[in-house]
Subunit: 209 residues, 2 copies
Amino acid sequence: MKKKTIITISREFGSGGRMIGKMLAERLKIPFYDKELIEIAAKESGIDKELFEDNDSRTSKGFHLFGALGYSLGGPLSAITELSLNDRLYLVQAHVVEQVANQGACVIVGRCADYVLRERDDVINVFIHADEKDKVARAKTSYEVDLRDVEKSILKIDKRRANYYEYYTDRTWGKAENYDISLNSSTFGLEGCVDIIMELMKKEEEHGR
Amino acid sequence: MKKKTIITISREFGSGGRMIGKMLAERLKIPFYDKELIEIAAKESGIDKELFEDNDSRTSKGFHLFGALGYSLGGPLSAITELSLNDRLYLVQAHVVEQVANQGACVIVGRCADYVLRERDDVINVFIHADEKDKVARAKTSYEVDLRDVEKSILKIDKRRANYYEYYTDRTWGKAENYDISLNSSTFGLEGCVDIIMELMKKEEEHGR
């Protein structure tokens, strides 16, 4: 078994999952990809960056047909022209996720990376969630949130993430079985979660030998 | 915040979750409750032990009405007479789970213990899952499984567990947000999972201070 050096992080909005990923990348001295992926995807595809930024809110019908038509993620991006814009955005991002994973150890937040990289054996998939009160406190500092009803905004953003994930992966977002480890950041703290993930990468290495 | 000394373990069939709980209890030198709870429940209620053993396969309609009728888990068991047998079995077990938790540090496997003890702040909830191939290998040694179709037997048993859990708790079984930590035992090994849980109980203690 290959040593697992690529970490994907899926997370509830306001759970601190992004920050955990960032701290983890800093401690491990490896690249961190979140919005950075969008920059690369925009550059490579020539599609406007802003379209990617809002892309997890929209899905389009018929994407699952796509596989049946014999398109492949491994193919050139130029082949992806007859699809809806949203499906193209997804595929371009998936392609970039594969590219950065090919370059070696890194932390990737969101972008269905756990699914995109499912055939690799050097990936560890993490899901971060948190208690409502902590998510609300954290969400208040985000520009994405309507401050008049923070709880509702969180629900809405997570619902969008879940729909996006389920649409493109046929899996249920937030279901423990999709991830190697799921953690409640309210129980352990952000630093605590980073420590646990560092620790378990060691465990995995011992077990995988 | 109170130190968390009670560990509940929910698990997929064949994931090794029960064994992880047993090893954990041995290392921590605290009581382990799985079938042991059934013995106590049978003794306390006078209901035949065998009925408890098969009880997670059956649920009865109208249980949710029960709360509305003002029954309380805290009340005497003798009050639980006008309910269906299955609901009575659930309530007796829930009562026993509360009793053993009141006695102090312990590991409890199954029995919706995470839900039953949800109001306590000294509980850590764990979910264990595993890859299909490992579940199949482990399941083959169980008397509950039809050896002619092990995969199907596993699905069936987990479906029963999920239905039972969802019926009595109104939560989705196996959803990461219900647990403090969820682990894939195929990634880390059973010993590895025990180590991680021991480690994170320390983290939680540091964070909770």
